[in-house]
């Protein structure tokens, strides 16, 4: 356990500068947009010069940039992300309302893509170069080229518009009054299409990583040993080859979490799914830069947390992780 703990501590310390850099970056973007926000606001409500000046005062636009950065950091430390002009609400509350929905979508598609993708990767990698392998690898490449949002549209067209099997948009039936399991089932039905659209692309990726990992592991000495031990082919494929090839797939899971979060923005927009992505789209439409950057910051924190979890899982799967650190103590 101590080996995992050491690793966690190292990662947590390492993520502090990352978060600081991102915060400074968002601050600059905020600065660049600052004037616009006042102008946009003024343009919308038709404010006069006096009100504009008052707004500038209120938003601290007349102070030195360094002071403003300090104020910004101080506010962030208190989880105060500012006020959303588009929704007329505090940003942090909005984010906390939408985050669970996005996590649900991401979790579902990750489970789908990782599970199915690595499973099919095992099927393909069980005999590298076989017809089955070539069909699956090629299919994965084609799937990987499909733009997620367009796939979403096509799925929606087919399964909702034409067949009417699944709901077209939203996260649950509005004002249905459903509770308990019935409500969960309703949400699950709403999740099918967006989660599939998001998952299919990553499914292709995990399939390919698993497959090429297995092709590599087959050439290793310890596989020759396993064959010399006369183990059943099934056991060699699953317990020796796939078990080792799983490691790079898990690594990929962490690497891709940021991309998946980005991809969910468009998918949520396609399906009107009320998560952070749809919120980001509203922020763009409402020219609400503080809200948009709040979403960026929350995404970064989410990505860091997901990567921490992935690191722990990896350490559980690979006994060699952190062996040096432990030895050095």
């Amino acid at each position: 356990m101590s080996r995992t703990w050491l690793l966690l501590r190292r990662r947590l310390i390492g993520s502090v500068p990352v978060i600081l850099i991102v915060v400074v970056g968002t601050f600059f973007l905020l600065e660049a947009a600052g004037g616009d926000a006042v102008d946009a606001y003024a343009g919308e409500v038709g404010a006069d010069a006096g009100l504009i000046e008052q707004l500038r005062q209120q938003w601290g636009l007349n102070e030195s940039p360094l002071t403003r950065l300090a104020t910004y950091l101080w506010a962030l430390l208190h989880l105060d992300l500012g006020w959303s002009v588009a929704f007329s609400r505090p940003i942090s509350g909005l984010l906390m309302e939408r985050l669970p929905n996005t996590l649900l979508l991401m979790g579902t598609s990750t489970a789908l893509s990782f599970g199915l993708g690595s499973l099919l990767g095992v099927v393909a990698g069980a005999r590298p170069g076989s017809a089955r392998d070539r069909v699956l690898s090629m299919g994965a490449l084609v799937l990987y080229a499909v733009p997620g949002f367009w796939l979403g549209l096509v799925l929606a067209l087919f399964f909702s518009v034409q067949l009417g099997w699944l709901p077209l948009a939203g996260i649950e039936t509005i004002a249905s009054g459903l509770t308990g399991w019935a409500r969960a089932a309703d949400i699950a039905r709403h999740l099918v299409l967006p989660a599939s659209a998001l998952a299919l692309i990553y499914l292709a990726l995990y399939l390919r990583v698993m497959r090429s990992g297995m092709a590599e592991v087959w050439r290793m000495d310890f596989i020759r040993t396993a064959r010399a031990k006369g183990l059943a082919r099934r056991r060699i494929v699953l317990r020796h080859v796939a078990r080792n090839a799983l490691l790079p797939v898990v690594t990929m899971l962490g690497v891709q979490s940021a991309q998946m979060l980005g991809g969910s923005v468009v998918i949520e927009s396609v399906f009107g799914y009320p998560g952070l992505g749809l919120l980001a789209e509203s922020a763009v439409r409402g020219r609400d830069t503080p809200l948009l950057l709040g979403i960026v910051l929350l995404s970064v924190v989410t990505v860091i947390v997901v990567n921490l979890v992935v690191d722990i899982v990896y350490a559980l799967l690979d006994p060699r992780v952190g062996a040096e650190a432990e030895g050095a103590r």
């Binding site: 991102v22 080229a145 733009p147 949002f149 096509v154 067209l157 518009v161 980005g262 468009v266 948009l292």
Partner: protein
């Protein structure tokens, strides 16, 4: 020689053919469809194959879908290539400096790289374009802003391994300036593995551009596939072809790039085995 080897792999042949066809489409678009592809040229909602003048039909305003798709190829390819070029140039520069100087420089540059990698690429692009305003240029910068990290990491790793080799030591011995060593001796040798990322970077740049314009953040003055898909989305029930046609174009383009990339990797590994 190596081009031949590339074309002899199945992926290379398919990818090469498709890319050539795409380049032809992109180059011939202004000749075949001179004038603004966004101009209204006919009746609205003409279905595909109904009128020989509009093989892919017309959209809700009466714009020629085929002209849009062909001009859209131009936009996609230009933005994809420009963003990938910028990302590779910036990334290899950063990676080379980090690898060559090591120490604090390396630490700082790698932290920055890590920070950029932690921000979802699409959200970063979205935020940047929405603050700066949409145009071809800003979209290119927005995409390159997150795409440079992979080349930076690869370049750094390459430089770290090249740094120890003889010719670098020789250049140092004759008193070459470290920066001259970096960009004349080390970078050219570190470049091939970095360039092998090109296909993936171009493909993802094209996909990000499409997603941006799908959300209304593309350059409003040019035809883009993302915008076309987005406009078709409102009439999915009655005129699905408006979203389908540009979507297929987008998919074929990305697929062609992946195939070409696979072909190049295979051709390169074939050469390694042969030599």
């Amino acid at each position: 020689m190596s081009v031949l080897r590339f074309l002899r792999t199945p992926e290379g042949a398919v990818g090469g053919f498709l890319l050539a066809a795409l380049a032809f489409v992109a180059l011939s678009a202004p000749v075949l469809f001179p004038g603004d592809p966004l101009a209204i040229v006919g009746p609205a909602y003409l279905h595909p194959f109904a009128n020989p003048a509009f093989p892919l039909g017309t959209d809700s305003l009466g714009r020629n879908v085929l002209a849009g798709v062909m001009h859209g190829a131009r936009t996609s390819l230009v933005i994809g290539l420009a963003a990938a070029f910028a990302a590779i140039v910036v990334g290899s520069a950063v990676g080379t400096l980090a690898g060559l100087f090591g120490g604090v420089v390396d630490e700082v540059l790698m932290r920055i790289t890590e920070a950029f990698q932690t921000v979802p690429a699409f959200l970063l692009a979205l935020a940047f374009v929405s603050v700066v305003g949409p145009s071809m240029g800003t979209v290119v910068v927005a995409i390159a802003l997150s795409a440079w990290t992979a080349p930076a990491r690869v370049a750094r790793a390459e430089v770290l391994s090249i740094r120890q080799r003889d010719y670098v030591a020789a250049a140092r011995a004759v008193g070459m300036h470290p920066l001259a060593i970096a960009f004349r001796e080390v970078l050219p040798n570190a470049l091939p593995p970095v360039l092998s990322l090109a296909s993936v970077i171009v493909a993802s740049a094209i996909l990000i551009e499409a997603a941006l314009s799908f959300l209304g953040l593309g350059d409003p003055n040019v035809a883009t596939w993302g915008t076309m898909i987005s406009e078709g989305r409102n009439v999915l029930r009655s005129a699905a072809y408006l979203s389908i046609a540009p979507g297929i174009a987008l998919m074929v383009t990305v697929l062609a790039i992946y195939f070409a990339g696979e072909g190049a990797v295979e051709a390169a590994s074939a050469r390694r085995i042969a030599s």
